[in-house]
Symmetry: C2
Subunit: 152 residues, 2 copies
Amino acid sequence: MKWEDLSDQPCSISRALAVIGDRWTLMILRDCFLGVRRFEVFQRRLGVSRTIVTDRLRVLVDEGVLRRVAYQDKPVRHEYRLTEKGLDLHPVVMAIAHFGDSHYADAAGPPVLRRHKGCGCDFHPVQVCSECGETVTARQVEARAAPGFPEP
Amino acid sequence: MKWEDLSDQPCSISRALAVIGDRWTLMILRDCFLGVRRFEVFQRRLGVSRTIVTDRLRVLVDEGVLRRVAYQDKPVRHEYRLTEKGLDLHPVVMAIAHFGDSHYADAAGPPVLRRHKGCGCDFHPVQVCSECGETVTARQVEARAAPGFPEP
């Protein structure tokens, strides 16, 4: 399988990774969720080539994860904002951050703290079942092909 | 910044992506959570070179996400099993799957359904605050540097 074929697989993980699974793309999305919007800032923070940033932003715009918006007229300058679809990636970024906090924090603790404005507390994300509200762990999940799953 | 430098950043997302953020690695983890354990099966399912599979599995073993276990004596054969640390990646994989289900499902619906054994229902994951239990969205999260965050 080529990387480009991922989006054709009958698997939502493959299809999502076809969009966000490339090196640097999730780093760009991390920055989007920290409020970064401008090309130069993405590039400076990541310290990678213009080509890499251009290419990743283009894919994210093409896929509707980001939208490109003019913020200045003369000369025209654009910035990149998360769309509603892009905001749906928040649980992905938070889950990655929490894994990093749990396993790669320094002795002093995680480098970044996150506060939930709703309750005012520093928090970490917990994944629960949409139906019963209980915490979900890997051992409690059973995956099966849906009725429409293509025949091999 | 080089990809190899990600693990030195004062950011849990960078450090996590240094381990899981490479092309194919999250696809291998997807298969781990579906119960795949053997090299040949990973390779056949992904249809990529032995080198890619070998390299990704090695990193995941080195990082303690998978452990390599002999399942046969003569000749010795190994399989790859998720460790407790590896199981901590479940929310990441589930969040990616849910994003894919939400935005890349066919007209017939998501190709794979997931049942929560706890309540018996097909479900999707919801991310809630560890402190108050309410659903967390991007707009409700405020990130700040922790006291131990390195000076620039």
